[in-house]
C-alpha cells in the first residue's frame, strides 16, 4: 500500500474503507490493478453494477497479479459485524429487485455499507414505482409529473448527513444522483466533484459528472482530484463534447501506458473516429473489438451506423443476426436491426424497430433521430419532424436532429425556414462541411449568392467530406461571371480529386475540364486549353467542348 501515504484528509475522515486516492502517474500498473479489483468488489457489494462492471473490465485488461500481491479483503469492522445479518438478507432481496423489502430490513443499520444499501434500495424502489406509475397515471397532463416520491425524503436525509460530513464516497454519489434527479444541477455537480475527491476510483461518479457538464468552460472550472482516473474521465468527456482530437490523444496515452487490451478504451476510440467520420479506421477498430469480445452489445449501434454509411449489407446483416441471438431486447440490438432494414429500404420495418428501441429506453437519443431519417425516407414529413423534435427535447445538442429538421423543411421547399435549423446544426458542429454545404445550397436557392459563396468556401476550408463544395463554389462564380475565381476553384477541385486517388466516378469532373478548356481558350493559353479539352474527350457527357 505504497500510495496510502497520499490519502487526503477528507478521505480519511469520510471513507470507512481505506481506499487510496492514487497519484496521477501510471508507473505502477500493479497498484492500479489492485485498486481496480478492490473497487470492483466494493461496488458489487453495494449493488452498483455498472461501475463494478467497468472496473472489472479495466482490471481484466491488465496482467494478472501473482498470489503474493493479491490483496486480502478489507477488514471487517465492529459496525459491519453488527449489521452483517441484516445486510446479507437485504442484499439478497436487493438482488431479486425487492427493494422495499430490502430497505425494511436495513432500517436502523449504522455501518456505511448497510446505510448506503438502505438508501439506494429506497431510491431504486422509488424509480421502479415511478416507471410503473407512468403507465397508470391519473391524466394525460400528469404524465410528465409522475416523479420519484422518495427523492425528496432522500434529499432531506442525505443533506443532513452531508452537512454533518458523515457521507462516504458512495453516499455522496447517491446524494448527487438524487440532486440531479431533482434537477438541482449546480448542487449535483458540487456533490459529484466532492465524491470524486473522496473516492476517486468510483467510475459512476465520474460518469454522472460527464452527463452534467455541457461545455469546455464548465470543465475548466472544476477542481478535480489529481488521480489516474481523471485521465479516463477527461478522455470520456472530450469525446462527449466532440473535442475528438484531444480525446484521441488521451486514449492513445492510456494505451501506451498499458491499457491496450481494454475493450472500453478500444470502443471509445472507435466511437471517436466515428464522430470525426474517419470511417475506415473506426470500422477496423470495431472489427478488432468484435474479435476480442464477440458478445459485446455496447456501442454496436455505432458500428452499425458505420456499416450503414459504407452500405456493407452482408456485414450488417451478420451483425444484426448475431446481436439478435445474444439479446434481442437491447436498445442497441433494435438499433442495429433498424439500420439493417433501412439499408434494405424497408423503412416501415426500420421505423418499427427504432420505436421498439425507444420503448426499451425512452431517453435513447439516437433512435429518435434515426426514426426521423426513416420517416423522411417514407416521405412522412410530419412524423419526421415529430421524431426530430423529440430528439432535440432529449438533447438540445443533437446536431443530427437539427440537420434532419433542416432537411425536412428543405424537402418541403422552404429554404428560408430551414436556414434556422441548419444554422443551429452548424453552431453545434462548426467544422462539419455538410451543414455548411446545406446552408450554402439554401442561400443559393434564396438567391443570396454572397452568403452562399461564403458558406461553400468555409466548407472547403474545414475539409469537405463530399467534395462538392468547390464545384458548387465554381458554379456560383461562373454564374456571377467571375471567371478567374471559377477557374481557380475548378483547378483546385481537380487537384483534390487526383490527390485523393479515388477511382470513384465524379460527375462534375467533366464539367470542370470543360470549363477550364473554355477558360484557357479565352485566355489564349492554347496548350492548356487543348490539354483540358483532351481530358474532356474521356467523358461521355461532354460532346462539344467548343
Amino acid at each position: 500500500m505504497a500510495a496510502s501515504s497520499s490519502i487526503v484528509s477528507v478521505a480519511a475522515t469520510a471513507s470507512s474503507v481505506p481506499i487510496l486516492p492514487s497519484s496521477c502517474d501510471f508507473s505502477n500498473l500493479r497498484e492500479i490493478k489492485k485498486q481496480l479489483l478492490l473497487i470492483a468488489g466494493l461496488t458489487r457489494e453495494r449493488g452498483l453494477l455498472h461501475s463494478s462492471k467497468w472496473s472489472a473490465e479495466l482490471a481484466f485488461s491488465l496482467p494478472a497479479l501473482p498470489l503474493a500481491d493479491l490483496q486480502p479483503p478489507p477488514p471487517i469492522t465492529e459496525e459491519d459485524a453488527q449489521d452483517m445479518d441484516a445486510y446479507t438478507l437485504a442484499k439478497a432481496y436487493f438482488d431479486v429487485k425487492e427493494y422495499d423489502r430490502a430497505a425494511h430490513f436495513l432500517h436502523g443499520c449504522n455501518s456505511k455499507k448497510a446505510y448506503f444499501l438502505y438508501m439506494y434500495s429506497r431510491y431504486l424502489s422509488g424509480e421502479k414505482k415511478k416507471d410503473d406509475e407512468t403507465v397508470d397515471s391519473l391524466g394525460p397532463l400528469e404524465k410528465g409529473q409522475v416523479k420519484n416520491e422518495a427523492l425528496r425524503e432522500l434529499r432531506v436525509e442525505l443533506s443532513k448527513k452531508h452537512q454533518a460530513r458523515e457521507l462516504d464516497g458512495f453516499g455522496l454519489y447517491l446524494y448527487g444522483v438524487v440532486l440531479r434527479k431533482l434537477d438541482l444541477v449546480k448542487e449535483a455537480i458540487d456533490v459529484f466533484v466532492e465524491a470524486t475527491h473522496v473516492l476517486p476510483l468510483h467510475w459512476g461518479a465520474w460518469l454522472e459528472l460527464c452527463n452534467l457538464i455541457t461545455d469546455k468552460e464548465m470543465l475548466k472550472f472544476l477542481s478535480l482530484p489529481d488521480t489516474w482516473m481523471k485521465e479516463f474521465f477527461l478522455a470520456h468527456i472530450y469525446t462527449e463534447l466532440q473535442l475528438i482530437e484531444e480525446a484521441l490523444q488521451k486514449y492513445q496515452n492510456l494505451i501506451d501506458v498499458g491499457f491496450s487490451k481494454s475493450s472500453y478504451i478500444v470502443s471509445q476510440i472507435a466511437v471517436a473516429y466515428h464522430n470525426i467520420r474517419d470511417i475506415d479506421k473506426a470500422l477496423s477498430i470495431f472489427n478488432e473489438l468484435r474479435k476480442q469480445d464477440p458478445y459485446r452489445i455496447e456501442n454496436m449501434d455505432t458500428f452499425s451506423n458505420l456499416l450503414y454509411v459504407r452500405s456493407m449489407k452482408s456485414e450488417l446483416s451478420y451483425l444484426a443476426h448475431n446481436l439478435c441471438e445474444i439479446d434481442k431486447y437491447r436498445v442497441e440490438t433494435c438499433c442495429v436491426i433498424g439500420n439493417y432494414y433501412s439499408l434494405r429500404s424497408q423503412h416501415e420495418k426500420a421505423a418499427l424497430y427504432f420505436q421498439r428501441a425507444l420503448k426499451l429506453n425512452p431517453r435513447y437519443l439516437g433512435a429518435w433521430t434515426l426514426m426521423g431519417h426513416e420517416y423522411m425516407e417514407m416521405k412522412n414529413t410530419s412524423a419526421a419532424i415529430q421524431a426530430y423534435r423529440h430528439a432535440i427535447e432529449v438533447n438540445k445538442r443533437d446536431y443530427r436532429a437539427w440537420y434532419g429538421l433542416g432537411q425536412t423543411y428543405e424537402i418541403l421547399k422552404m429554404p428560408f425556414y430551414c436556414l434556422y435549423y441548419y444554422r443551429r446544426a452548424h453552431q453545434l458542429r462548426p467544422n462539419d462541411s455538410r451543414m455548411l454545404v446545406a446552408l450554402g445550397e439554401c442561400y443559393e436557392k434564396l438567391n443570396q449568392l454572397v452568403e452562399a459563396k461564403k458558406c461553400y468556401w468555409r466548407a472547403y476550408a474545414v475539409g469537405d467530406v463530399e467534395k462538392m463544395a468547390l464545384v458548387k463554389l465554381a458554379k456560383l462564380h461562373e454564374q456571377l461571371t467571375e471567371s478567374e475565381q471559377a477557374a481557380q476553384c475548378y483547378i483546385k477541385y481537380i487537384q483534390d480529386i487526383y490527390s485523393c486517388g479515388e477511382i470513384v466516378e465524379h460527375l462534375e469532373e467533366s464539367t470542370a475540364f470543360r470549363y477550364l478548356a473554355q477558360y484557357y481558350f479565352k485566355c489564349k493559353l492554347w496548350d492548356e486549353a487543348s490539354a483540358c479539352a483532351q481530358k474532356c474527350c474521356a467523358f461521355n457527357d461532354v460532346q462539344d467542348p467548343d
Partner: protein, 755 residues
C-alpha cells in the same frame, strides 16, 4: 401619423381579431380540488331556496365560474373563498370533505354514485347542458374511467389534500396564539423545510388541459389588450416552462412563449419558440383526421408567414421578405387564398416605402372582401387611407372610406379596428391641421366604451391606437399652451405603457418633442440641443430636423444649411411631404435671416404649392406667414397685409398658440409699415389698431412663455406709443422691455429680421 398596423400579426388563437380559447378536445380529470368543488356544487343543490339568502346565492354563482376554470388551489384558500360569499355553506362543505377524507374509500365512491342524482327527477337541480352540468358530467365520466389503482391513488391524494389544508388552518391558528417557545421550535423546523418549500412554489402543480387552455387564452388576450395586467415576462415564462415540463406536447404554450419573448425583444428565444410551436402544430395538424393533409400544409404556410412577421417586428426587413416569399410560394402552390391575403397585407407592410405599394393594397382590399375576410379588408382600407392621406387625397373621400370600413367593423364587432379607425381619424385631422377635430376624435376614443368590455370583461386600453390618440392629445394640449394638462397626459401614458413595453416609443418621442419645443420657446437652446440626441434615437429624420433648427437658432447658419439640404434630399426621396415643407420653411427662414429675402421667395412658393397640393392647412398658413414676412422685408407691406388676411382665419381657428401670436405680431408690423405713407389722422388710427393687435399677440406669447417674442412686442409697442405721444404707456412698455431684456441673452439678430 404613426403606423397603427403593427398588430397585423397572425395569431392562431385569434380569428378576425377576437381571441378564442383553443379547444382541441375536452380533456379533464378528477383531482382532489375538483372533488371539493363537486362537494360545493352538491351542497349548493341540497340547500333549498330559503337557507341561503339571495345575495349569498348570487355571490356564490359568481364564484363558480372561476372555480371551474381556474387552476387548482389549496383547500384553505377554497374555504376562504366560499366563506367570503357564504359562511354557512363553507362550514357544511368543510364538514363533508372532512367526513369523506377521514372516512373510507367507499365514502368517495358513494359520493360519485350520488352525483348523477342531480340530473334525475322531473325538475333536475342541474341542467345537463349548463356549465355546471357539463362540469359534473365530465367529472363523473372521468371518475368512472379510472382504474382500480387510480381510484385508490385519487383517494390518498384527497386525504393528502385534506391534511395539508388542515395543517394550514392549524398553523394559522397557531400563529395567532403562538407562545414564544413554540414559535422558536417552529422556526427551526421551517429552516429545514425552507429549500423544499421554494421548490413547491416554483412548480405549483400541473394544470389540466382545460385549465391550461384557459390560462393561455387569458394571458394571450391580456398581452394583446392590456399588457400591464398580464403576468410579468419573467413570471409568465416560468409558468410556461412549468406547463411545458408537465406536458411537452402542449404546443400553444410555445406560441405564448413566443409572444412573451417579443415583449422583451428577445430575437433568439422568440424565433426558437415560434419554430418549436409550428413544428408541434404540424403534428397535431397531421394527427387530426378532419383536417388531414390540408391542415398540415396550412400550418406550414402560416409558419413561414409568422416567421416573416417576426423578422419584420425586429426590423430585419430583408429576412422578412425572404420568409414572406416562401409563404407566398407555398400558399400559391396549394391555392390557399386566405393565406395569400395575409401575405399580401404583409407584402404591403414590407413595401410601404415603395411608391407603387398602394396597388398591392387595392388588390388586397378587393380580394379580402371577395373572400369574406372583414378583418383584413378593413385593415387594408385603413392602410390605404393612411397612404392616401400622405399622398394628399381629398379629405372627404378618406373620411368616407373610413366611415364605410367603420360600418364593417361594427357589423362584425371588430373592436380593435374601431379603435384604430378613430385613432387614424385623429391623426388625419391633425395632418390637415384641424386641431379641434383631432381633439374631438381623440376624446371620443378615450371616452368610448370598448366592445371588448362587453365580451370578455377586459378593457381594451393598452393597444397602439390608444397610445397614438393619447400622444396626439398631449401634443395638442402643448400646442395650446396647456403644458400642465399635457404633462398630465404624458404621466398617464407612462403608467399605462411602461418604458419597456411595445408602444412606449410613441410617448417617449412625443414627450421629447414637447420638451424641445418648450426649450426653444424659452430660448434655452443648450437644453434643446441636449434633447436632440434622444429624439434622433427614436426618429432619425425628426432628430436631424430639430438639430438644424437648434443650429439655426444659435446662428450657425452654414451648418444648419448643410444639414437642411441633406434632409431635404432625403425626404424628397422618401416622399415625406410633411417634412419636406417644414424643411423648406426652415431654409427660407435661413435666407431671410441672412438678409436675402429675395432668394427665400421661390423656396416659400414651392412650400406653399406643396402644402396646398397635399392640403396641409397648418403648414400652408405657416408658409403664408413666412411669405408675408418676406414681402414686408422687401418693402411691400400692403401686399403682405392682404396675404395675411387670407391666412389669419385658419390660424386663429386651428393654429397653435405660438402661430397665433406670430400672426398677430406680423399683422401689426404690416399695419405700421403700410401706414407710414398715410395722412396723420389715418396713421394714428392704424397705429392704434396695431397696438391692439400687439396686445393680443402678447397674450398669446405669454401663454407659451415666449419671452423673447414678448420682449420684441413690448419694444414695438413702446415705439408706437412714442409716435402717438402717449408717454405714460410708452414708459410702462419700455420698463417691461428693460426687465425682459436683462433676463434674456441677446443673440445679435436685428429685431425686424425675426418673424
Amino acid at each position: 401619423m404613426a403606423s397603427v398596423h403593427e398588430s397585423l400579426y397572425f395569431n392562431p388563437m385569434m380569428t378576425n381579431g377576437v381571441v378564442h380559447a383553443n379547444v382541441f378536445g375536452i380533456k379533464d380529470w378528477v383531482t382532489p380540488y375538483k372533488i371539493a368543488v363537486l362537494v360545493l356544487l352538491n351542497e349548493m343543490g341540497r340547500t333549498g331556496e330559503g337557507a341561503v339568502s339571495l345575495m349569498e346565492r348570487r355571490r356564490l354563482n359568481q364564484l363558480l365560474l372561476p372555480l371551474l376554470q381556474g387552476p387548482d388551489i389549496t383547500l384553505s384558500k377554497l374555504y376562504k373563498l366560499i366563506e367570503e360569499s357564504c359562511p354557512q355553506l363553507a362550514n357544511s362543505v368543510q364538514i363533508r370533505i372532512k367526513l369523506m377524507a377521514e372516512g373510507e374509500l367507499k365514502d368517495m365512491e358513494q359520493f360519485f354514485d350520488d352525483l348523477s342524482d342531480s340530473f334525475s327527477g322531473t325538475e333536475p337541480e342541474v341542467h345537463k347542458t349548463s356549465v355546471v352540468g357539463l362540469f359534473l358530467r365530465h367529472m363523473i365520466l372521468a371518475y368512472s374511467k379510472l382504474s382500480f389503482s387510480q381510484v385508490f391513488k385519487l383517494y390518498t391524494a384527497l386525504q393528502q389534500y385534506f391534511q395539508n389544508g388542515e395543517k394550514k388552518t392549524m398553523e394559522d391558528a397557531d400563529m395567532e396564539l403562538a407562545s414564544r417557545e413554540e414559535g422558536e421550535r417552529k422556526m427551526e423546523k421551517e429552516e429545514l423545510d425552507v429549500s423544499i418549500r421554494e421548490e413547491e412554489v416554483s412548480c405549483s402543480g400541473p394544470l389540466s388541459q382545460k385549465q391550461a387552455e384557459f390560462f393561455l387564452s387569458q394571458q394571450a388576450s391580456l398581452l394583446k389588450n392590456d399588457e400591464t395586467k398580464a403576468l410579468t415576462p419573467a413570471s409568465l415564462q416560468k409558468e410556461l416552462n412549468n406547463l411545458l415540463k408537465f406536458n411537452p406536447d402542449f404546443a400553444e404554450a410555445h406560441y405564448l412563449s413566443y409572444l412573451n419573448n417579443l415583449r422583451v425583444q428577445d430575437v433568439f428565444s422568440s424565433t426558437h419558440s415560434l419554430l418549436h410551436y409550428f413544428d408541434r402544430l404540424i403534428l397535431t395538424g397531421a394527427e387530426s383526421k378532419s383536417n388531414g393533409e390540408e391542415g398540415y400544409g396550412r400550418s406550414l404556410r402560416y409558419a413561414a408567414l409568422n416567421l416573416a412577421a417576426l423578422h419584420c417586428r425586429f426590423g430585419h426587413y430583408q429576412q422578412a421578405e425572404l420568409a414572406l416569399q416562401e409563404a407566398i410560394r407555398i400558399a400559391q402552390e396549394s391555392n390557399d387564398h386566405v393565406c395569400l391575403q395575409h401575405c399580401l397585407s404583409w407584402l404591403y407592410v414590407l413595401g410601404q416605402k415603395r411608391s407603387d405599394s398602394y396597388v398591392l393594397l387595392e388588390h388586397s382590399v378587393k380580394k379580402a372582401v371577395h373572400f369574406g375576410l372583414p378583418y383584413l379588408a378593413s385593415l387594408g382600407i385603413q392602410s390605404l387611407v393612411q397612404q392616401r392621406a400622405f399622398a394628399g387625397k381629398m379629405a372627404n373621400k378618406l373620411m368616407d372610406a373610413l366611415k364605410d370600413s367603420d360600418l364593417l367593423h361594427w357589423k362584425h364587432s371588430l373592436s380593435e379596428l374601431i379603435d384604430i379607425s378613430i385613432a387614424q381619424k385623429t391623426a388625419i385631422w391633425r395632418l390637415y391641421g384641424r386641431s379641434t377635430m383631432a381633439l374631438q376624435q381623440a376624446q371620443m376614443l378615450l371616452s368610448m366604451n370598448s366592445l371588448e368590455s362587453v365580451n370578455a370583461g377586459v378593457q381594451q386600453n393598452n393597444t397602439e391606437s390608444f397610445a397614438v390618440a393619447l400622444c396626439h392629445l398631449a401634443e395638442l394640449h402643448a400646442e395650446q399652451g396647456c403644458f400642465a394638462a399635457a404633462s398630465e397626459v404624458l404621466k398617464h401614458l407612462k403608467e399605462r405603457f411602461p418604458p419597456n413595453s411595445q408602444h412606449a416609443q410613441l410617448w417617449m418621442l412625443c414627450d421629447q418633442k414637447i420638451q424641445f419645443d418648450r426649450a426653444m420657446n424659452d430660448g434655452k437652446y443648450h437644453l434643446a440641443d441636449s434633447l436632440v440626441t434622444g429624439i434622433t434615437a427614436l426618429n432619425s429624420i425628426e432628430g436631424v430636423y430639430r438639430k438644424a433648427i437648434v443650429l439655426q437658432a444659435q446662428n450657425q447658419m452654414s451648418e444648419a444649411h448643410k444639414l437642411l439640404q441633406k434632409l431635404l434630399i432625403h425626404c424628397q426621396r422618401t416622399r415625406n411631404t410633411e417634412m419636406v415643407i417644414s424643411v423648406l420653411l426652415s431654409v427660407a427662414e435661413l435666407y431671410w435671416r441672412s438678409s436675402s429675402p429675395t432668394i427665400a421667395l421661390p423656396v416659400l412658393l414651392q412650400a406653399l404649392a406643396l402644402s396646398k397640393e397635399y392640403r396641409l392647412q397648418h403648414l400652408a398658413s405657416e408658409t403664408v406667414l413666412n411669405l408675408a414676412f418676406a414681402q414686408l422685408i422687401l418693402g411691400i407691406p400692403e401686399q403682405a397685409l392682404s396675404l395675411l388676411h387670407m391666412a389669419i382665419e385658419p390660424i386663429l381657428a386651428d393654429g397653435a398658440v405660438l402661430d397665433k401670436g406670430r400672426a398677430m405680431f406680423l399683422v401689426a408690423k404690416c399695419q405700421v409699415a403700410s401706414a407710414a405713407s398715410c395722412e396723420p389722422l389715418k396713421k394714428a388710427e392704424a397705429l392704434e389698431a396695431a397696438i391692439e393687435n400687439l396686445n393680443e399677440a402678447k397674450n398669446y406669447f405669454a401663454k407659451v412663455d415666449c419671452k423673447e417674442q414678448i420682449r420684441d412686442v413690448v419694444y414695438f409697442q413702446a415705439r408706437l406709443y412714442h409716435t402717438l405721444g402717449k408717454t405714460q404707456e410708452r414708459n410702462r412698455c419700455a420698463m417691461l422691455f428693460r426687465q425682459l431684456h436683462q433676463d434674456l441673452p441677446f443673440h445679435g439678430v436685428p429685431l425686424i429680421n425675426l418673424l
